[in-house]
Every structure is written in C-alpha cells, then in structure tokens.
C-alpha cells in the first residue's frame, strides 16, 4: 500500500504532522457531535420540552459544522501539498529525462515517458492527497472514538476493538485471494480488453480478407467472454469490501443488541447506550473509506514507484573536458581507439579504432543491427562508453563525447527528424532563436524549401508538426537541414539513414541538395543506400559491432572481401 520512499519525499513529514493535529481535532469534534446528539435524543426521549433541548441542538450543530470545516481544511492542506510536491516531482522528472538523453529515453519508450510525466503525475497527486488523509484517519480517529466508547461502556468498547483486527484479517485474506485470481486472469484480461482496439485497428485487413462483416459477432463474443471473466474476478474482489461492510454493520447491530440488553437489565442508562450507538459507525468509517479507495490509489502508487525508479537512475554528466575545442576545423582530428559499448543484452560496439580528420565524409555501413547507429550515437555523445578513454579530440583525450563544447558544434539528423509543433520559421530557428528572417530564408533556400514555402498561404509562418500542416518525409529532412544550416558553427554533421525511407526520385532530389552542403564540414553518415558511397572519403564496414574494413570506397571495392560481400548482398536484385 505504501512505498517507503513516500515518507522520504520532501515535506511529507511536516505536512503529516499538520494533518495529524487537524485529525486529532476532528476526532474530538466527532465525539462532541455524538455526545450532543445523544444528549438531545435522551432529553427528547425523557419528554423534555424543546426549550431545554436547544443547548444540545446548538452543540450538535456546532460540532457538526466544526467537523465539516476541519475536513475542508485538511483536504485543502493535503491538496496544496500534493499539488506542490507533484509539481516538484514533475520538474525533477523532466530534468532527469533531459539528463538521461534521447537514447535512454527512447529505450524506455517515448510514449511511456510522456504518459509518466503527465498522467503519471496526476495519479501521483491524487495518490498523495488520498493516502495521507486516509492513513491518518485510520491511524487516529477510530482509537479516540473507541476510547470514548470504552469509557462509557466497557463491553461495547471491547466488542468494537475485537472487530477491528477481524476486519483487517478478512480484508487481507480476501485481498490476496482476489489478487491471485486477478493475476491468474490478468494476461487473458489484457488480451481481451485490447482485442477490441485491435479489431478496430485491423479493420482494413479484415475487410481486405472479406471477413469484416462476419467479424462483428466475434467482437461481441469476445466482449461477452471478457464480461464473464471480469464478473468472476469481481465476485471475489468485491468480497473484501463486502466482508468489511458486513463486519462493520454487524458489529453495530451487535453493539446495539448488547446495549439494549444492558439497558433492559437497568445496568446502564440511556446516554451511554445512545452515544455508543451513534459513534459505532464513525469508528468503522475510516477503515471502510480506506478499503474503498484502496483500488483507486493503486495506479498512483505504481506511477509513483515508476517515477522514483526513473529518478534513481544515474544520469550521465555533461562534460566540459574540451575547453580548447571551438568547433571542427579543416585541421581537426578525432582519433578513436579501443572503443567499446555494451548493451544490457548484447554487444553494441567492440574494439573500434579509426581516425577522422578535416572535412572528411565518412560512411558507416553494415547489415541491420551491425552497430551503425550505436557508433553514431557514441560519436554524438548520446551514448557513453562504459570504460576507458577511447576518444582524442584535437589531442585532448576524453572518456565520452557527452561534452558541452563537442555537442555545441554538431548536428544530428535521424531518419525521421522531429518536427516541432510550431511554425516553419521557428522550426528552422531552433538552434538560434535570435536568427532574423533573412537568415531563415537563406537556410530554407539552401535546404531547397523555398519553392514549397512559396506555395503556402502563410509562408514561413505556416504551422507544421502535431496539429499543423502535414509534411512529407523528404520535407522533414529538408527542415532538419535548414535547422542545421542556420547555425554555422555546427560543422560536424551526423546522419542516421537520411534517405532510406524516401522514394527514389525524392531521394535523388534531396541528395542533389545535400551533397554541395557537405563541403567544409565533417559528415558522418550511417546508411545502407549505396549511392552515398561515391561521396565518401572513408567507409567503415561494421559487422556485429566490429569494424571489419575501413578505407576509401575504391580501395575497399578492390581489396576488401567483407566490403564486396556486403555490397553484393545490398545490391540484391540489381545484380540479377
């Protein structure tokens, strides 16, 4: 129910103390409320006139109002606290996402990260709000009440105290039973609840197979099967709240009967009997609320745990180990030696060594999974080798390239560059928000977008990205190019498969735009489109994380069997 890390969150203990004080006050007014009500009834029962009842009526009304105001105050306090804390957690979470970097976040799943930072935070806030108040309710209120009842009538007090562990015990037993049963069925459940969305997403396929009409009955049948299984689980899951209610109401009935019999024998007077009866439901109220909200808090608890796990992950530190590096020059060199990168379940890069200098064009080629992207990410600093000092930049050895100076001078363009939900101009200005319209126009010109932008009613102020105008894959690449071009100091360009997904004519046009821009820059491109090799000064052939051949393309074509084999395979049908 409670993650121990919860109590270590900042401010939790202080707010708990504040809430606890209010809860104690609340327990007192609950007793007062019962006390005055009982007195009112007793006097009424004794056929006293209304006039003599007023003090009790006012007393009851005052205690009742005080209780509601206290509840209100507690909720406000808890909400304020939970909101601030959730805000802080979200800030930390977003900072952490930034610190972990794109690779780690992509590994965790970007959709996951977004859900965690929004829905997750909302759930955490609700969880914090609920759990603090309900916990304190259960920890304080019943004991004050039962203490008062015991003082008034020992037997009733003892009966109620005995009931408490019985209820807890049943809750636990049934809770376990329900959990086992629901866990057994969980896999099947997920499958069936996803089945419906699955059917909708696959509708086109079903239609093409000519079975979409008949499949409607399958949708119904699966939904009905899901219903039956759900009911099976609910029957048990709801037993736990049934048991709680059952024992609570039965206890009240039992207490009433005890008291009735005591009264019958004249061993007690009416007031203690009445006040015990009035307070008995209040005694059980906190635990019943706790049980009812238990399932509501589960999501929040899990979300909090997931977020805390992510926050506990060690984030790489952005280095400042290259103070002298002011961008890639025509005489710059990057030497890589004994570079290794190990994923949790496989080798990423093994013993890579090569030297790059000046404005070379470098291609990384290899079959899928050979380590091209890993190597590119290591060169961009998005991944850090676990050990050693494999990089030397202009004579300065560094352990990894997650370095401020290095990253300030590079650009990275993936296969599907991200287009922000903003205007074309602001997308292009991303690295240099201060760039003027002329600079944007120039970058768009160089990226070959001028003609397209001219066809748009709003020109460079057209919104693209989510919620904006849709753009094609080729256009997205060109936007990314323009984004890079506007920042002249970025002279190291890393490309990950920039054209593989484009149709051949778009690819040809984009290539015509790109190649002149390579001059005077260091270009490193992971690709399996062979035509790029003509532009390259150095080709690194990767196989299972190892560089199996390196050299100029002509040289490799002549001498490297690894290169020849790979190219033949890639050319596939063209050699038929």
């Amino acid at each position: 129910m409670i993650d121990k890390r919860l109590l270590r969150l900042p401010g939790v203990q202080q707010v708990m103390i504040g809430l606890a004080i209010l809860t104690v006050l609340q327990a007192v007014v609950i007793i007062l409320q019962g006390h005055f009500l009982a007195l009112g009834i007793v006097h009424s029962w004794a056929q006293k006139a209304l006039v003599s009842l007023w003090p009790f009526i006012w007393g009851f009304a005052g205690a009742f109002a005080a209780r509601q105001v206290l509840t209100w105050g507690r909720n406000r306090l808890a909400e304020n606290f939970a909101r601030r804390l959730a805000d802080k957690i979200q800030q930390r979470l977003i900072k952490q996402l930034y610190a972990l970097g794109p690779q780690a976040v992509a590994h965790a799943g970007t959709g996951n990260a977004v859900t965690m930072a929004l829905d997750g935070i909302i759930e955490v806030q609700q969880y914090l709000e609920l759990i603090l108040n309900k916990l304190l309710n259960m920890g304080i209120i019943p004991w004050f009440i039962v203490g008062y009842i015991f003082w008034e009538n020992h037997l009733a007090g003892i009966a109620l105290v005995i009931m408490f562990p019985v209820i807890i015990l049943f809750m636990i037993i049934l809770g376990y039973a329900a959990r086992d049963k629901s866990q057994q069925q969980y896999a099947g459940f997920q499958q069936m609840s996803n089945h419906f969305i699955d059917s909708l997403r696959g509708l086109k396929t079903l239609q093409l197979m000519g079975i979409s009409k008949a499949y409607a009955d399958n949708v119904y049948a699966v939904s009905e099967r899901y219903r039956k299984q759900t009911m099976g689980v609910l029957q048990i899951a709801m037993l736990s709240s049934f048991a709680m209610d059952f024992f609570a109401t039965l206890s009240i009935a039992v207490v009433a009967v005890f008291l009735g019999i005591d009264l019958l024998h004249g061993s007690v007077s009416l007031y203690p009997g009445m006040v015990c009866l009035i307070l008995a439901p209040e005694y059980f109220m906190p635990i019943r609320e706790f049980g009812n909200d238990y399932h509501a808090t589960l999501n929040g608890k899990n979300a909090l745990a997931a977020i805390l796990d992510l926050l506990d992950q060690p984030a790489p530190q952005l280095r400042q180990a290259l103070p002298a590096y002011t961008g890639w020059q025509s005489d710059s060199t990057l030497t890589v030696s004994a570079l290794n990168y190990q994923y949790a379940d496989r080798t990423g890069i093994k013993d890579a060594a090569f030297t790059i200098s000046g404005d070379m064009n470098v291609a990384l080629i290899g079959a899928s999974g050979s380590g091209k992207s890993t190597l590119l990410n290591l060169l961009g600093g998005f991944l850090q080798p676990q050990s050693g000092t494999p990089f030397v930049v202009d004579g300065q050895p560094v352990a990894d390239l997650n370095d401020q100076a290095w990253q300030a001078h590079l650009s990275y363009i993936p296969q599907h560059p991200y287009v922000f939900a903003d205007t074309i101009a602001n997308n292009v200005r991303f690295y240099r928000p201060e760039a003027d319209d002329a600079a944007v126009a120039q970058a768009l010109q160089a990226a070959g977008l001028t003609d397209w932008v001219a066809t748009l009613a709003d020109g460079v102020n057209t919104r693209i990205g989510e919620g904006g105008r849709g753009i094609s894959g080729g256009q997205a690449q060109r936007i990314a190019l323009a984004r890079t071009l506007i920042d002249q100091k970025r002279s190291v360009w890393l490309f990950d498969e920039p054209t593989a997904h484009l149709d051949i004519e778009t690819e040809a046009a984009l290539k015509n735009t790109m190649t002149p821009l390579f001059a005077g820059r260091l270009v490193i491109m992971a690709t399996h489109r062979l035509h790029w090799l003509q532009q390259m000064d150095l080709v690194l052939v990767l196989d299972q994380g190892q560089i199996v051949a390196a050299g100029a393309p002509a040289e490799l074509a002549a001498h490297s069997t690894a290169y020849q084999a790979l190219v033949a395979q890639m050319r596939g049908e063209f050699d038929v």
């Binding site: 009424s44 029962w45 006293k48 009842l53 009526i57 009304a61 509840t71 909400e79 979200q90 900072k95 996402l97 930034y98 970007t110 990260a113 977004v114 930072a117 929004l118 969305i197 909708l200 509708l203 086109k204 079903l206 000519g210 119904y220 219903r227 759900t230 609910l234 029957q235 209610d245 059952f246 009935a253 009433a256 009735g260 019999i261 009264l263 019958l264 007077s269 009997g273 009866l277 439901p281 899928s368 998005f382 401020q404 990253q407 300030a408 990275y412 991200y418 991303f430 690295y431 094609s472 997904h501 149709d503 051949i504 035509h531 890639m570 050319r571 596939g572 049908e573 063209f574 038929v576």
Partner: protein
C-alpha cells in the same frame, strides 16, 4: 441536443430486468442501512424503558437482519450493475465496430492520426462510467428521496415537504451549481491537457535536438508551459470541489437538526411515542452516502457529453454501387481506361486520364514520388473509390460490380500489414478461415518462415504478443504474405510492402514475393527500383499522369531518366 441519440437511449431498454434489479438493490442497500440505525435507535430507546425481554425480541432480530442485509444488498448491487454495464458494453462495442466497418477502407486515413480509434474505445469507457457513477446513483438517490418524503408524510405532510426540500438541495441544487461553475473550466482543461501533451511530446521526441542545442532551461519551460496552466486550473477546480462539498455537508447537517426539533415537537406526547425519537433522528446519517457522490458524478457530465457527441457524430458514408455480380472463375485483362479522380469537384485533381492494361499473370510496377496518387490509383482499382470519370474493368465489367465478394478477386499487401494479437496460426488463417493446419504450414513454408516458427516455444500456436518482439519488419511482411497465399485471389496489389526495410531484407522479400506470386497478376506500387527488372511493365506516375510506360528492358536501354534513377538506386 440528444434527441437523436443512438448510444444511450436504445441500450437503456436492453436487459431491463437486470437494470431494474440493480437499481432496486441499490435502493434496498440504503433502506437497510437506514433501517439498521432506525431499529437500533428504537431498540435502545425502548430498552431504556426496561420492558420485558420478549418485547425487544423483534427489534433485536430486525437489527441483525438489517445489519446483514446492507452489505449483502450492496455486494449484489455492485455485481448486478457491473454485469449490466458490461453486457451493454458488448453491444456498444459491436455497434461501434459495425459503424466503422462501413468505412473500413479509409479507416487509416480517417482515424489513425492521434489514435482516434483508441479515443473512440475510451468513449465507450466513458459511457460505462456515465451509467455506473452518475446515472445509477442519481436514480437511487431520487427514489430514496421519494421514499423518505412519503414515509415522513405518513405522519406529517408539512414536515415531509421540508425534508423533501432539504434532500432536493443535495439531489439537485448542489450538483447543478457544481456543473454550472465547473463546465466551462472542464472544457478549458481538456484543451490544456491536449496542449500539455503536444508540448511534452515535442520535448521528448525532439530531445536530441534540445540536447545538442544545449537549451535545458528552455526545454524545462517548454515541457511544463501548458502543464502549469492546467495545474493552476485543476487547482481552482479542486478548491471549488472542496468548497462545494463543505457547503453540501453543512446543508446536510440541517437535516438531523430539523429531525431533532421535529421529533421533540411531535413525538414526545407519550412515552411510547418518545421511544421513536432516536430512531427518527439516527435514520438519516447512513443516507448521507447516497447523496455525497452525486455532485461528483454529475460534474463528469461534460466528459460524457463529449463522448456521446463523438459517437453520435459518426456517420458512415453511403455509396451507390452497381448491381453486384459473382466473381468470374478466370479473367483475361484488367483495364484502366481514361481514369480521372478528384475527391470533390472543388478539390485538386489527383489522377488525370490514366489508361493501361494488365493481362492475366503479368507483373506491373508503378513508380512515382510519394503523395502523387499511387495509393489512390490502387483504391480505384480495388473499387474503394468511385472514379470521377473513366473506369476500371475486368473483362469489360467494372470492379465496382465485384465489391460484395471482392476478397476472392483481389488481395492486398501494404506497407504495414496488421497482425492481430492472437496466435500466428490464426493470423495466417485470416486469409482463409477454412484452411487446415497443413495449409497454414504450407503457406508459412512458402514465405520461408517455417524455420523461424519452429524455434518458437509453441510453434504456430505462439501468440503474436509474445512472438511479435522477435519478428522484424521483413518477417511481419512475410506473415502477411502467407495470409495472402491462403486467400488465393487471382490479382494481388502490392502497396510499397518493402518501405522501411534495409536493402538486404528488401531484396530477400522481393525475391520471395515474386516466387510465391508467380501465377498471380500483380500490380506493384514501389518507391525503389530494386526488383523492378522482374516486371513486365513499368509505369511512372507523376503529378497524377502516367509519364513513362514501357518494359524495364526498353527503359533501361533508351530512357535517360530511368537510367539515372536506376544507377542511383543500384548505388553505382
């Protein structure tokens, strides 16, 4: 507004017995809860007069009965109401499926962005909540209000009227006030939530750009910009809810006070009458729970209303098709004649005057830049779209006349074939539900997946969810190809099935496709020239027109543009 509602009204008539039963149990639960306090109060008051034990026997038994009755009825009520709602859900799901099925061909274009399908499924979830959290509690509380007022009216009509008024404050005034205050804010919050999602997604998906731009502060501001607004707004909502609950509770507190006064004035005439004082005062407290959640449930109405609007707004397009004909056993030619297409008379013309002929068994490649109408042309050939002018015929009969049993004529393999979350066998068998295990195995062998599947723990019975992670893009296409082999339609349309695959996988897949579809007529939309040399004809589609059409050998020999593209694609 909801006069023509098709999603709640019809379902309220379904399983009326269960619905009635659920509501009755809900009412009984609270009656028992009230009666428990009532009889207990009476029991104690009466016992204090020290009657004979026999005299309190009935209240003792009743106290126990009501004590047991309350949890039992509540348990049953929960089960019955969930059962009813889940039954209705099955109907709603089938209905939603059927509505969407009518537009199945365009489901990707229409509903894929932003996961509209997931949202539609959520809408059904919202209607479930509308029943469980709003409708049922409100109806139960209304019935209880009537019963309570009538019960008191039995003794005192004037006071009963006061009670009814006080209960109506809980039932109507507080929820209406809450809805009035919150409705606009809830709508604004929905928009803010959307903005927050877009901003955060921008931040997370664009993370590599943010990192190398070294704009951490801007990243933090951007990521939380709308969230901060949303948080401020939900904070206001929370404040209001707390205040609303306080007022509602204070108003509820008037009821026991009124009962104390009323009983004192009217029930203290005799000792026997005074014995009922406790009963009348205590009965009200358990009823608080019947009213306390109504305002919250009603507050959700804006969400439910939006969901109902979405669902009711779904109107499938109706098409006029010619009289449907039986699929011919064999055919000679598929002819596309002077075909032009635009979605609406005002819209841009997507295809202009396209004509070509495919003979049985031929393989035709269709090339051209993306977004230039290649997929539209396939949809016209299939008959999903009706040409603006011109026609697509098979031996002189329009393909529009073959829609009823179209799957016997055309099979389609597209960019992202959908694999259902069921076993591999069931996925392949979708092509032909009558196929035997041997036939499934044969199809999988044809697409060269036998070895891979043999390694899986449960073979062809392995669920896709478990195997899916192990299936690469190329392997998923192979599974879809196996499905098509079982479907065994004479004409196969390939819509860029190799997009996104690396060249080695692409070449292997193309080889498999051509080997397995040897006897079929194939129209292949492709973005690369890899494998095009195997085709009988190559068509180039540009700006909606056919600009080149010839055999690959002729094009390779004489067409410089083709030569240039071919050389580029071949990496030479």
């Amino acid at each position: 507004m909801f006069k023509h509602d098709q999603w709640v009204r019809p379902d309220l008539k379904r399983y009326r017995g269960l619905l009635f039963c659920s509501l009755a149990l809900g009412v009984l639960t609270f009656i028992c809860a009230g009666a428990l306090m009532f009889t207990s109060g009476y029991l104690i008051d009466f016992s204090a007069r020290m009657p004979l034990f026999a005299a309190i026997y009935v209240p003792v038994v009743l106290t126990r009965a009501f004590g047991i009755g309350r949890p039992v009825f509540q348990y049953l009520e929960r089960l019955v109401s969930h059962n009813w709602v889940l039954r209705i859900t099955s109907h709603m799901r089938r209905k939603l499926y059927q509505v969407l099925e009518k537009d199945a061909a365009f489901i990707q274009e229409r509903y894929q962005t932003g996961d509209v399908l997931g949202l539609l499924a959520d809408d059904i979830g919202h209607i479930q909540n509308l029943y469980l959290r709003t409708l049922f509690p409100t109806v139960v509380a209304t019935i209880l209000t009537v019963i309570a007022s009538l019960a008191i009216g039995w003794f005192d009509w004037g006071f009963a009227l006061w009670m009814a008024l006080l209960l109506l404050v809980q039932l109507l005034v507080v929820p209406a006030w809450g809805l009035w205050v919150e409705a606009k804010r809830k709508t604004a919050q929905k928009a803010m939530t959307h903005d927050a999602y877009v901003e955060l997604t921008d931040s997370v998906l664009g993370l590599s750009d943010w990192v190398i731009a070294q704009k951490e502060p801007a990243f933090l501001t951007q990521a939380t910009h709308s969230w901060a607004k949303l948080a401020a707004s939900t904070h206001k909502s929370a404040r209001f809810t707390q205040f609303r609950d306080l007022i509602s509770q204070l108003a509820f507190g008037v009821i026991p006070v009124a009962l104390l006064i009323w009983t004192s004035l009217t029930w203290t005439g005799t000792q026997t009458a005074a014995n009922w004082v406790g009963a009348f005062v205590l009965v009200i407290f358990p009823l608080d729970q019947a009213f306390s959640n109504i305002a919250k449930g009603v507050g959700e109405w804006p969400t439910y209303r939006d969901s109902l609007k979405h669902l009711n707004a779904m109107q499938p397009t109706t098409r006029l098709l010619p009289a449907q004909q039986a699929i011919p056993h064999t055919f000679d030619t598929l002819t596309v004649a002077q075909l032009s297409f635009q979605y609406t008379p005002e819209a841009q013309r997507l295809l202009t005057d396209i004509s070509f002929t495919i003979h049985r068994g031929e393989k035709i490649a269709l090339l051209g830049p993306s977004g230039m109408g290649k997929t539209t042309l396939l949809q016209l050939v299939l008959g999903d779209l009706t040409p603006t002018s011109g026609q697509v015929t098979i031996d002189g009969v329009s393909t529009l006349a073959y829609q009823q049993h179209r799957s016997q004529l055309f099979a389609v393999l597209d960019q992202s074939p959908f694999l259902f979350n069921t076993s591999i066998k069931n996925n392949v068998r979708l092509g032909n539900e009558a196929a035997s295990d041997d036939q499934v195995a044969w199809a999988l062998a044809q697409v060269q997946l036998s070895d891979l599947i043999a390694q899986l723990p449960q073979g062809i019975d392995t669920p896709m969810a478990e195997a899916g992670f192990g299936f690469s893009g190329g392997e998923q296409q192979r599974l879809a190809l196996a499905r098509i082999l079982l479907q065994d339609a004479p004409i196969v349309l390939l819509d860029e099935p190799t997009v996104g695959l690396d060249p080695i996988t692409e070449a292997d897949l193309i080889r498999t496709i051509f080997t397995t579809l040897q006897d079929k007529t194939v129209l292949w939309v492709t973005h690369h020239l890899q494998g095009v040399a195997r085709c009988d004809q190559v068509l180039f589609l540009e700006d909606g027109r056919l600009t080149m059409a010839d055999t690959p050998a002729h094009l390779a020999a004489a067409n410089t543009r083709y030569q240039h593209l071919y050389a580029l694609d071949a990496g030479k």
